[in-house]
Amino acid sequence: MNAIDMAIRAAAANITLSGVTKAYDAETVVIPPMDVELRAGEFTVVLGPSGCGKSTLLQVIAGLERVSGGTIVIGGRQVQDLEPKHRGCAMVFQNYALYPHMSVFDNIAYSLKVAGMAKAERIERVGAVAKMLGLSDYLGRKPGQLSGGQRQRVAIGRAIVREPGVLLFDEPLSNLDAQLRHEMRVELAELHRRIGATTVFVTHDQVEAMTLADRILILNKGRIEQFDTPKAIYHHPASVFVAKFIGAPPMNILPVIGDGTVLRLADGQVVAQARLNGAYQLGIRPEDILIGDTANGHVVTSALRFREDLGSHAILAVELGGSVVRIATPFGAEIPDHSQLFLNLPASRLHLFDAESGKAMPGAFGAN
């Protein structure tokens, strides 16, 4: 690694946000005080509904938007007042923000040029990145002549070519087809393994989130709902919000009422045993519902509404206690063609949430 490399490549660094807030103006407080620590080298995926402040969070870390309050520490240095270029971050913009006047090559090479890297080395580095992104044929074109996906890849190339200490991705794969997306995902994972940058990755894609993330950060209106490993998020959602946000289709949520011994649906059917009193929300993932199975726990009756065939499997939508419940059938399973289905909701797969706050109540059924 030569001197220029040293200048460009920064070591992966801890990122600590303490009491960070961001408001565009008095009315639009996008991020209320936020405390979070992203560990050096960790791959964090940020998930959250549209407009919840994901892009804003990245921009605040990058130094493109000034914080309205709080401190940001990257690699031990307070950076909230530093310029972007002194923070050692690279970023893929949601809208690409390519330089319209530069060719693809120049777009990617620009940060290297700014860092003073020799031309020959630039060509080599850019060449390698372009190959990885499938852009080798387009290096001479201007962004205006590229398709959406091609532009997005250029934006990725521009960020990763520097191999920086902190990599910020704002929905970098949203315009790619599944196959390419899959390839890119593998490449990004590989890249992360190789350069080990602390990575913050905004996406809407569940698969990306589950496979890439060391930890997933779930944002809701600028607030952190949960920040944990993919597994924990999936299997132990901290709230109804998280539960409904993760999984495709998402977890089914049913209002239930406990009478001290059992939980009943709105239509009175018993779904589980529990020594609870009052109203709750019961969650179960579509793939955890067993059809026509009487072996494990309570069986409820439901009416089939419609089915979606996804090729690999099908999604059934049934009506249960006044709510629509989605069921993912196992691969290759034969689905009974009745209009009435008997469902088994295994107790070990049930999640219980507070009716008011939506907070998870772990341990309600022992296993969880």
Binding site: A62, L64, E83, P100, Y110
Partner: protein, 296 residues
């Protein structure tokens, strides 16, 4: 529009749209200019009557006249220096005024004022400012007598003209360039900042390339208009002197033709000037214009 395929394909409407302007231009520009071109092949008496066809004689005569070439050279030198400065200075000002600093707002206002002031009074004022004994350079002159003498020294007179020209050129170019700068999307700055380019560097790598259309506009207009707008200044400040040092081609055409009644000679020079400027502008379009029309 780069790809011509995505355009309206009406047949008559565009003609209708350009018609009013084209009509005015035909009537008040091309007919008069054509008339002038016509005269360049004649020995024309001012009040008409007995004009004599002489073919290319007028051209031969003008092209053989050293004064014409000198005025031509002066014109080119003026075009290059004055128009470069008249774009460069507003550009620097626009870059400054584009920043969020307190002075930017008053500056945006004040820098447009010269346009509102009539040339007649301003020429007098500039002559006064550059007066070697009482003007701003008077201290310099009393330290080194004779170092600044626009009344005697052609170069000094030239500099005076350029200063006045740039002064008058600031508003238009400043406004156009600033508007261009302001329309650069914020993310463009952000992306470059992330790439490690500081604000100074972004000027060259992002801002200037992205306002190329505006820069091109101002440069082309300056190049052509410096030829014409210099006229009023020469007329009020130097009268083409000293010793003809500030006699640019337009001024020469004017004095030859319209105070000296040599309509033929003036028309001939007009024709040559016109061809020259057209070629120059065409070259600008070919070499610059092509490259800068990228899509945002």
């Amino acid at each position: 529009m780069t790809s011509e395929s995505s355009l309206f394909s009406h047949r008559w409407l565009p003609l209708l749209l350009v018609a009013p302007l084209m009509l005015l231009i035909a009537l008040f520009f091309y007919v008069p200019v054509f008339q002038a071109f016509y005269w360049s092949f004649f020995l024309e008496r001012p009040f008409g009557g007995g004009s004599m066809f002489v073919g290319w004689d007028n051209f031969a005569r003008v092209l053989a006249d050293p004064e014409f070439w000198e005025a031509g050279w002066r014109t080119i030198i003026f075009m290059v220096t004055a128009s470069t400065l008249a774009v460069l200075i507003p550009l620097i000002l626009a870059l400054a005024a584009d920043r969020k600093i307190r002075l930017a707002l008053p500056a945006r206002n004040v820098l447009v004022w010269p346009k509102g002031v009539a040339g007649a009074s301003i020429g007098v004022v500039f002559a006064f400012i550059f007066n070697p004994f009482v003007g701003v350079l008077a201290p310099l002159n009393s330290a080194f007598p004779g170092i600044w003498a626009p009344g005697i020294n052609g170069t000094d007179a030239f500099i005076t003209l350029i200063a006045a020209h740039v002064w008058g050129g600031i508003p238009f170019n400043f406004v156009i360039l600033l508007a261009g700068l302001q329309s650069i999307p914020k993310t463009m700055h952000q992306a470059a900042a992330m790439d490690g380019a500081g604000p100074w560097r972004r000027i060259f790598d992002v801002q200037l390339p992205l306002i190329m259309p505006q820069l091109f506009l101002t440069l082309v207009l300056e190049f052509t208009e410096s030829v014409t707008s210099a006229f009023a200044l020469i007329d009020t400040i130097t009268d083409g002197g000293p010793g003809g040092a500030t006699t640019l081609l337009v001024y020469k055409i004017y004095t030859d033709g319209f105070s000296g009644y040599d309509l033929s000679g003036a028309s001939t020079q007009t024709a040559i000037l016109m061809v020259f400027v057209v070629l120059l502008t065409a070259a600008q379009f070919l070499f610059l214009g092509r490259r800068i029309n990228y899509e945002r």
